[in-house]
């Protein structure tokens, strides 16, 4: 029985006072969490452009059947050849042969457009940045403007749920009337493309776009498949061929290289052959296009001229074009309404493009056709605008629309009508661009200001709040009213000013946050100034925050962050090693040197499990899954996972034994409970592994049932059961040893040693594990949450999380031996938080949206069901940060023994916990602050959407995760302190 002293012996008044103190101390991390949240909200409002996606599907309006409407003749078939990264000058310019390699290679389009201007035309095809394939494909099919997050998009983010010409073709001509070969991105955007089979003949041939360094596999595959498809022209209406070689040649070698020339010549042959193949067929339209261009290095993603200027080539053996100026520039989204008319389908609902005039006019330059097309598109855009709440207040645009409609109704001057409708479309596009593609810099700066102020406040708080001296409740009691009052005042002032300036949200949020900080500053004056010397370790902690933050200044370091962090942690490990060598006591020194070496090795090993991001290729090989092209874990990983299930409890036991704390509840909780739970986690992933095997398909249903039973039991035990048991029982890891001293006294009396005899009490009580009472108690709760996180990780991630627990314990032991907890209470929390980021990468994640392991959403349920789905995703994605935050109180509790009958001391321990928590928050907040600043500075950088924006989002998510974990852990720590006081008070 752990409870040796009855709880009733504790004075009731002190007990409630302590309870009050632990409760009120929670306000500190909660306030900082709120500040970080407010800052993030403001920054994200200004930075993350979002666009509501309307699910409506267009149908042909009444105008189509109006007698005045004359539309260009549609084609039966369309061949779309998408040459990835086809820059305009690759097809649109010619040189004398001595110029860049990329000139004079893909010459067929320009030659045809010159020789047969009514059959062929080349356009400058302007993309809206970001010039990345996924965003471009969405725009090219839906006619919408890209934004970073398409709000309202479906769960895994990839599938296009908006209306698109692909969707319209599939619904009007039937599934299977499309043929496809090339980049498999298309199939993730439009899964129904893969239904294309005709009489059991497969017409879909996707290829992975993963390996950027392979120039030929995809292209050779596409070319080999399109010829048979082209021959069977009655089996399909739309053929899409997506070539990747030009893009890959650009990434790998650059545009002005022989390799690019070779690739372009190959593409020229493809275009020439396709043109020849459809020469006799006036019912087929050929569209050759680039989704984006490339810069002079061959990369893309940003908004430089070379990247946004792609090329477009239209061809048919039927004359269908009004001859155009070769340099004519059109928007990429203009393809959407144009294709809609040429394919005879309704214009997609969200389209913002205008029809290409040349293709509407036709060789006879019939303005009635153009005006009709423009009217239909304008109607569609008008309908879209009326569905869209954010367009209110842009009456000027609507005015042009009514003017144009009036002209249509009253006159036959189709040229003028076309102009009016086109002007409306242009104006609409302009307002949309302004609305969706503009950073709100004041809002971003306001967010950064709050971050800076809260960072300063955190540091001031940390520096002045010496938990070992002051009682947190006094401190909080003094400051909380000031902060609250300041916040309310700021809120009121902000609301007033914001109302006047019509920037209500920003002003209110900013006023609230800054007001509370000013209140804090005002309250600070009342406090006695504490001057404590800054230790070298504190300097080191701040230095590691700065070094980690500086990484965000360069895209390369963001890309290689995991390795950079491993480098930093190893460096810190060597610092620990040097400090260990400084210990005077030989035995302690040996132990510390051993743990330092283990810490160094752990930091290096933590860098090993990885899923590479695109930018790391070819210098990186993924090893997180069984192969680079799958998301199934390997058998080896499963075996190691079972290995950790057996060994991790033993490792924890060995750490607890250093303070003789493997007593009381510990053997049951860690040795038995944790081991069984971890073995069951292994069982779950084994079932998952078996299920992925195609041979087990017949038993899929039973397997699924078992899987869900196991996972739900585990979740219940680790997140609900064990914590509840902990709160109710306070499972202290102590053993009381009663020693009967009668023998000893007798002996002493016999020896005439009266002194010893009288001093020795008949029965002595020894509490084994007393020296780590707090640490061992808290550790039990910690491992329970760890087990839950471990369950939500893929097998390799689970192994990594076990490694994280081991590394945290190593660090704690070192912190105890080197006395870091008292010399510098910030350094261990900082390093633990840094480890949180390191293990984020070790669990198969990257700072990209694509690395989110969406499949764990179905860990507990077959379909998406909150909160289980969300728990799985949050634990999987942010688990390392959560564990890091939860581990922070251990930097106070580890090897801490209670001070019996001293409730002031218990309160001071709470103060130290709060202070350690602010230490971790300084790291998390500082990191997010630097990320925000870099993102603001680099918002026009060409890598912003691929690298800096996702890293900012990770920083934002991690600061909230760590802050929330700190709040939770502070609460848990308060409970532990109360529980221990109940026993020893």
């Amino acid at each position: 029985m752990p409870r040796t002293i009855p709880a009733s012996s504790v004075p009731r008044a002190h007990k409630s006072q302590l309870k009050h103190a632990t409760r009120i101390s929670l306000l500190v991390p909660v306030w900082f969490l709120a500040l970080h949240l407010l800052a993030l909200v403001l920054f994200a409002l200004g930075f993350l452009l979002s666009r509501p996606v309307l699910p409506d599907i267009a149908v042909k309006s009444a105008s189509y059947s109006s007698p005045d409407v004359v539309l260009p003749r549609a084609f039966k078939r369309t061949v779309v050849i998408l040459i990835d990264a086809l820059r305009h000058d690759f097809i649109g310019s010619s040189g004398d042969g001595n110029e860049a390699y990329y000139l004079n290679a893909l010459t067929t389009p320009l030659m045809l457009s010159v020789s047969q201007p009514e059959h062929a035309a080349v356009f400058k095809f302007i993309a809206d940045p970001p010039t990345t394939t996924l965003q471009r494909l969405k725009a090219l099919t839906t006619g919408s403007l890209p934004t970073f997050i398409d709000a309202g998009s479906n769960f895994n983010g990839a599938e296009v749920t908006e209306d698109s010409w692909i969707g319209q073709v599939l619904s009007s001509r039937g599934d299977g009337r499309t043929a496809f070969a090339g980049d498999d991105t298309w199939l993730s955007l439009f899964p129904s493309l893969s239904h294309s089979t005709y009489e059991d003949n497969n017409l879909t041939f996707p290829y992975e776009s993963f390996n950027v360094w392979d120039l030929h596999t995809v292209d050779a595959g596409v070319t080999s498949h399109i010829w048979p498809i082209l021959e069977r022209r009655d089996d399909w209406d739309v053929l899409i061929a997506h070539y990747l070689g030009v893009d890959h040649a650009g990434h790998r070698f650059g545009p002005d290289t022989p390799q690019m020339k070779e690739k372009l010549l190959e593409m020229d042959a493809v275009v020439k052959n396709v043109v020849n193949a459809i020469k006799d067929d006036d019912e087929t339209l050929l569209v050759v296009l680039g989704d984006h261009g490339m810069d002079e290095k061959g990369d893309h993603g940003g908004d430089s001229k070379g990247e946004v200027e792609a090329g477009l080539f239209l061809y048919s053996s039927r004359p269908f074009l009004a001859p155009v100026d070769q340099a004519e520039a059109i928007n990429q989204i203009d393809l959407v309404p144009t294709l809609s008319f040429l394919l005879d389908i309704p214009v997609p609902f969200n389209n913002l493009g205008s029809p290409i005039a040349s293709a509407m006019l036709g060789p006879d330059r019939n303005f009635q056709k153009l005006a009709s097309a423009c009217r239909i598109v304008a109607e569609q855009i008008h309908g879209y605008r009326s569905q869209h709440p954010s367009f209110e207040g842009t009456a000027e645009v609507a005015k042009i629309y009514s003017a144009a409609s009036e002209a249509w109704n009253t006159s036959k001057d189709y040229e003028r009508i076309s102009e009016l409708y086109l002007a409306y479309q242009k104006q609409n596009l302009k307002t949309c661009r302004e609305m969706w593609a503009r950073f709100d810099v004041p809002s971003m700066i306001a967010g950064i200001v709050i971050f800076v102020a809260s960072f300063g406040t955190l540091i001031v708080f940390y520096a002045t709040f010496d938990g070992s001296v002051e009682c947190p409740s006094d401190y909080v009691n003094l400051l909380a009213p000031k902060i609250g009052l300041g916040g309310l005042t700021g809120l009121a002032v902000g609301a007033g000013l914001g109302y006047l300036q019509s920037r209500l949200v920003i002003a209110i949020v900013f006023g609230l946050a800054m007001g509370s900080i000013l209140g804090f500053v005002k309250g600070m004056h009342r406090l006695p100034s504490v001057k404590s010397p800054v230790s070298k370790w504190t300097v080191l902690a701040l230095l590691s925050i700065i070094l980690h933050g500086i990484l965000f200044a360069s895209n390369s370091y963001v890309v290689w962050e995991a390795r950079s962090l491993s480098f930093l942690l190893v460096s810190f490990g060597f610092t620990l090693l040097v400090a260990s060598f400084r210990l005077p006591d030989a035995k302690l020194r040996a132990a510390a040197v051993f743990h330092s070496l283990v810490f160094i090795i752990q930091s290096r090993v933590a860098e090993y499990p990885r899923v590479c991001r695109e930018e790391q290729l070819p210098f990186c090989t993924s090893n997180f899954y069984a192969s680079t092209a799958s998301s199934v874990s390997s058998l080896t990983a499963l075996i190691i996972l079972f290995g950790t299930a057996v060994t991790l409890p033993a490792i924890i036991r060995s750490f607890l034994r250093t303070s003789a704390s493997y007593e009381g509840s510990a053997p049951l909780w860690v040795g038995t409970g944790l081991r069984i739970v971890l073995l069951l986690v292994g069982l779950y992933w084994t079932l998952d592994y078996v299920e992925a095997d195609p041979n087990s398909h017949a038993h899929a249903e039973q397997l699924n049932t078992y899987k869900y039973v196991v996972s739900r039991i585990l979740l219940g035990v680790t997140v609900v059961g064990a914590p509840l048991a902990w709160f109710r029982g306070f499972p202290l890891c102590l053993r009381v040893e009663l020693t009967n001293n009668q023998q000893k006294i007798k002996q002493a009396v016999q020896n005439g040693d009266v002194h010893t005899a009288s001093k020795t009490s008949p029965v002595s009580v020894e509490i084994i594990g007393f020296g780590n009472t707090y640490g061992s108690l808290y550790l039990l709760l910690f491992v329970s949450i760890f087990a839950a996180v471990s369950l939500c990780m893929k097998p390799v991630g689970g192994i990594a999380m076990a490694g994280m627990v081991y590394q945290i314990l190593t660090l704690l032991e070192l912190g105890d031996v080197l006395d870091l907890f008292t010399i510098s209470p910030i350094v261990t929390p900082t390093v633990i938080a840094l480890m949180g980021t390191q293990y984020y990468f070790a669990t198969g994640h990257q700072a990209t949206l694509a690395s989110i392991q969406w499949d764990v959403a179905f860990l507990f349920t077959e379909s998406i069901r909150p909160p289980l789905t969300h728990i799985a995703l949050i634990f999987n994605t942010l688990g390392p940060f959560i564990l890091a935050g939860l581990a922070v109180p251990l930097t106070v509790f580890y090897k801490l023994s209670p001070s019996p009958r001293d409730f002031r001391a218990s309160e001071a321990i709470m103060g130290r916990v709060v202070r350690a928590g602010t230490g971790a928050m300084i790291y998390a907040g500082g990191l997010t602050l630097t990320s925000c600043i870099m993102t603001l500075i680099l918002r026009r950088h060409l890598m912003v959407w691929k690298i800096f924006a996702p890293r900012f989002m990770l920083a934002g998510a991690s600061v909230i995760a760590i802050d929330l974990a700190i709040v939770t852990s502070t609460f848990f720590a308060g409970k532990a302190i109360e529980g221990v006081y109940d026993v020893f008070g």
């Binding site: 895209n555 390369s556 370091y557 890309v559 290689w560 950079s564 040097v578 400084r582 090795i601 290096r604």
Partner: protein, 236 residues
Amino acid sequence: MARIKSTPRQISTPSAPTSPIAVPHKPNTHYAEDVFTSSALLAFPIVTVVLSSLLPSDPVKILAYSLPLVALIQAVNILFTSPAPEQVSKSSGNKKKKQAKSTVSTTILGLVLSILLTPFIHLIYILFGAPVTVSIPATFLLSAHTALLALFPILCTFPLDGVTWINIVALKAPLTPAYTAALGTIAGAWLGAVPIPLDWDREWQTWPVTVVFGAYVGNAVGRLVGAVLSGKEKKL
């Protein structure tokens, strides 16, 4: 425990008879020392420049060919600037002759130990993130160069006993030129890793060019600091 420091600034003072115990403060008379310290200070920037201009073309080859040269420079430098630890403590008799002889043997011993410790340094580089399975020759040669720059002089000038070496690792040893040069080498190599991830696609970014460069520059800076500090009994 005998700790010997080269103390050129005290050369002019007559060598007072001191007890054998007060070894650390014992001035010694190496007139050649100034010359060689400054020549070493000159030699290393030159080696650095030459190495770093040649390195990117074929790091492994250049590192391998330059290794004996660096070893020779270091050995000469050690022979002429550092007294042998054991000998100075015996302050009697035909000191000069004995000392020179012993220094040669110490230097050879130091060189052999440096070579033997190279795999250990290789391991440290791997811990800091060097590739494990590829570029093994490059990393090994880098380790050999690091051993010659950092370990070799220390092995020759510090006594080989546990307490001294614990102090060396604990950064508590006296700041002799050999020691500051070693610390400079480590700091330089550490900083040398910084530009590697940048996507500038430069030839000199190949492993381990920047680290070699950093180690040499750090070594030269360390020597300079050591030369400035020499004669003062300082610790970190």
